[in-house]
């Protein structure tokens, strides 16, 4: 009973943009800092991306004056189809989870499937449940 039970989360999205543009956004610090790990109540103060297999990324989100590091390592990079990385938030847990991004071209755009494996419910419960807030914040940023 002590072995941690993990969960896999999967989401898909159609984009009007080409596979290359959607792919590149994940490895471009200027874009990644805007959508990846940014919390609505926080502010990304640092986004370092070493976009190669074995390379690391560090995205630092400042929440209420507190810096929260999101660290990761790229496991697979195959432009423009596939990215796989592991990531962890040292502040909350040593546990790391893995994210796969798969992109296929569909007429005039692409479809992205994100698979987040090894999500630990115990840890996830400590992360803000504020996805409602995220959506509210989005509306403010992009209107």
């Amino acid at each position: 009973m002590n072995s941690p039970k993990t969960v896999t989360i999967k989401v898909s999205r159609r984009f009007r943009a080409s596979p290359e543009r959607v792919f590149d956004a994940w490895l471009d610090p200027a874009k990644a800092r805007l959508f990846l790990f940014a919390m609505p109540t926080g502010q990304v103060v640092r986004a370092d991306i070493d976009a190669r297999v074995g390379g690391r990324f560090l995205i630092v989100d400042r929440r209420d004056g507190e810096d929260v590091d999101h660290e990761g390592e790229y496991l697979e990079i195959d432009r423009p189809r596939h990215i796989r990385f592991k990531f962890w938030v040292p502040k909350y847990s040593k546990h790391f989870s893995r994210v796969s991004i798969d992109i296929i071209a569909v007429d005039g755009g692409c479809e992205l499937t994100l698979t987040h494996e090894d999500v630990l419910p115990d840890y996830a419960e400590k992360t803000p449940k504020g996805w409602n807030m995220i959506l509210d914040e989005l509306a403010k940023l992009f209107t």
Binding site: V11, R16, A17, F142
Partner: protein
């Protein structure tokens, strides 16, 4: 202390236990009724039922000499809500990405 969600997910990780829950979703049943479709012993079915009870997915009541089991929906709903929350976090991030790329399109469109 193990969290309720951990217990729920651990309980759901086994196909026999999922089949037991499936059966109970149609209504109350006796232990022997639950065991009937399985090739495993009554004893191991009882073990599965105990795990489901610990996770509060199954409730037991006594009617005379019989034990009747029924499904407890709440932990299932909570697990489903948690999963939906996790998916929503990623969906919100993809919303931002989509908006970013569309903003670029607008910015680079030739003015007519």
């Amino acid at each position: 202390m193990t969290k309720p969600l951990d217990l729920t997910l651990a309980a759901l990780a086994d196909p026999t236990r999922r089949a037991i829950l499936q059966r109970l979703s149609h209504g109350e049943a006796r232990v022997t009724e639950l065991a009937a479709p399985f090739s495993i012993s009554l004893n191991s079915v009882s073990k599965h039922i105990r795990i489901l009870e610990r996770a509060r997915l199954v409730r037991r009541r006594r009617a005379g000499r019989e034990h009747l089991l029924s499904l407890e929906q709440k932990p299932l709903d909570e697990a489903a809500a948690w999963m939906a929350g996790q998916r929503n976090i990623w969906n919100a991030r993809l919303d931002v990405l989509e908006a970013l790329l569309e903003a670029e399109d607008v910015a680079t469109q030739p003015k007519t």
